[in-house]
Amino acid sequence: MKPSLIISAGTCGLARGADEIIKAAKDYQQKRGLKKAFNIKVTGCHGLCQAEPNVLIVLNGKKIFYQQLKPENVADIIEKTLRKGKIIDDFLWFDSKTQRRYVDIDEIPFYKKQNRILLGNNLCIEPKFIDDYVKIGGYSAIKKVINDYTPIDVINIIKGAGLRGRGGAGFPTGRKWELCREEKTNTRYIICNADEGDPGAYMDRSLLEGNPHSVIEGMIIGGYAIDATEGIIYVRNEYPLAVKNVGIALEQAHKKGFLGKSILNSKFTFDIRIVRGAGAFVCGEETALLASVEGKAGRPRPRPPYPAEKGLWSKPTNINNVETWANVPQIILKGPEWFFSIGTKTSKGTKIFSVVGKINNTGLVEVPMGITLKEIIYDIGGGIPGGKKFKAVQTGGPSGGCIPEDLIDLPIDYESLTEAGSMMGSGGMIVMDEDTCMVDVARYFLNFTQQESCGKCPSCRLGTKQMVEILDRITEGEGREGDIELLEEVGKNVKLSSLCGLGQTAPNPALTTIRYFKNEYEAHIQKKQCPARVCKTLTSYVIDPDLCGGCTVCAKNCPSNAIIGEPKKVHTVDQSKCIKCGICITVCPDKFRAVKKMSPVVR
């Protein structure tokens, strides 16, 4: 087989310069007339974001992973590795935990413990070419469905597999389809919820960018099962590359006869169009999403009736998340037993997590349900950078909560996370170290949900506002005795009396941080101290006289002239002038590192 140079080019890869790598590789190949010597493939993201821009070189059955590349490295890669088979050590992945370099992608600890059923295909598919997807068995699931199964069979297969919704709530997918099918009507709709609004989660973006056909095929199968003729992919406008790639994919699927009238010469007709969101987090909630598709402001409505009964234009509608749809073709091809055998008693299959924040190997991780947090953070994620101490992991986005270190052996499934006060959510996993202030994190999320609250329910609109005000004053050193209890009380009421998932879960970040990190709240309120030295009002910048080299760099850069000192002499910060912008810390040369943060404040 011809050697290949596979370039990871998702949004993050491109942001880090993958486009220049692609250009350099194509130019070099063109100029030297090497078109016959090797292929260049531009794929979606390879998952190990930390290593972007990265490439995979497939050569004589080996899969060599090169990372953090620059355009000027391309000539070497082509001449030495692709043409002569020589490995260039400098480009190999160095694992911070095992302290060694790896050649083969499958040997890298980050990949080794994963089970990349969905993401793995990103490596072999150029999303612009439908044939790449077809080559690895794509669209054979829909063929199998149309030739061998009745719609009821399909529903039973999905039920038998035990697939549950990957959007967060975990409703059994097969049952959802069944409910929608049971409604008596002529028109039903299929919707793919790609309004991935949880900050810190981007697996849906990666799937849509890198393997859009898997999602489209899942939707076609769903359409067949519930007897729908129209599908909609509701995708965030903040994901321009995903919108583009899905658009190309839909067009190609049409041309090949997988979409449109009489699909694969059967009686089944189904089409899909894209609807772009417009930056409202609440539209990830299904009834708000429906309102937005109908051209209204995205405000949720009470359920029941559920969308399966009365959805888009009051017709039965089946809404599933991107990752759920991507699982469907695989279940059809490999059988429900295969899927059922992966995972825990109640949660089957794999789940993709985006492991981000204070972690060495940031990236998208696809693991079987039931794996422990510890395995994800340490074995796959490579632990915390800079020798810092792990503090907590936040799961489930603004609806979720923070899980502390003593629960690190928690096996991850829908139920265990809920029990710990958090939730699966869409799979964002934000790792926090000792330098993260938990009160600030709670304030951050409450501020987020308060701004995104659509305003319909007073409990959510006003309750989250109250909670932000309390958290604001705690982080500003104005916290009062009784504030913690007040937060808990307001939080419980917001949960109980709000209509949709946003309000019902919005207090979680505050409630779980109080549950597990009450001492940090108390330090803020009683001692006016931010233990992580994050909260601005409670922190001072000071120069350590023993370390200061008197280089004057900080004084020159200080925007408020708060740093006093002559060359070669120790500098000091005039606290009355300091605006706490933090520039002094970033400009102080590494050989001194004299600027420190202190809390409580220095007067």
Partner: protein, 149 residues
């Protein structure tokens, strides 16, 4: 303007249910939603102007005010937040002397925030006129502003 708006309306077959997509295309063409454009759409699609206004103000992607020559977007996603996005936003606010969502008086810069761009691995992220800049540092603020000045 009428011609341009008409071509957008034709693309969406004059269907009022496509209003959000229509507004997105108008915004892409003008950088904001001009008042006259909204009036015209309201007449052509027979949607009350108040309803269009409600949609335009509900969704954060829309702007009713003209935006500056350069658009600076600071990602405020969780991963960016724990890596110090707030300090970077503060610095842009201080240097440009505007709050997020506003435009400088000389119409040179608009400053905006976004909830998450899904590039969490390389946070904090700043997008300058569509170009993503990862691992953005405090000192990059002046670098970016001075380069454009």
């Amino acid at each position: 303007m009428v011609k341009k708006i008409d071509s957008i309306l034709i693309k969406y077959r004059y269907q009022s249910s496509n209003i959000i997509q229509i507004l997105q295309d108008v915004q892409a063409a003008y950088n904001y939603l001009p008042r006259e454009a909204l009036r015209y759409i309201s007449q052509r699609l027979k949607i009350p102007l108040s309803k269009i206004y409600s949609i335009a103000t509900f969704f954060s992607a829309f702007s009713l005010n003209p935006r500056g020559k350069h658009l600076i977007t600071v990602c405020m996603g969780t991963a960016c937040h724990v890596r110090g996005a707030a300090i970077i936003l503060n610095e842009f606010e201080r240097r440009l002397d505007i709050k997020p969502g506003k435009t400088t008086n000389d119409m040179n810069y608009s400053l905006e925030t976004v909830n998450c761009l899904g590039c969490c691995a390389i946070g904090p992220i700043v997008v300058f006129d569509g170009k993503y800049m990862g691992e953005f540092k405090l000192k990059d603020v002046s670098r970016v502003l001075e380069r454009q000045a």
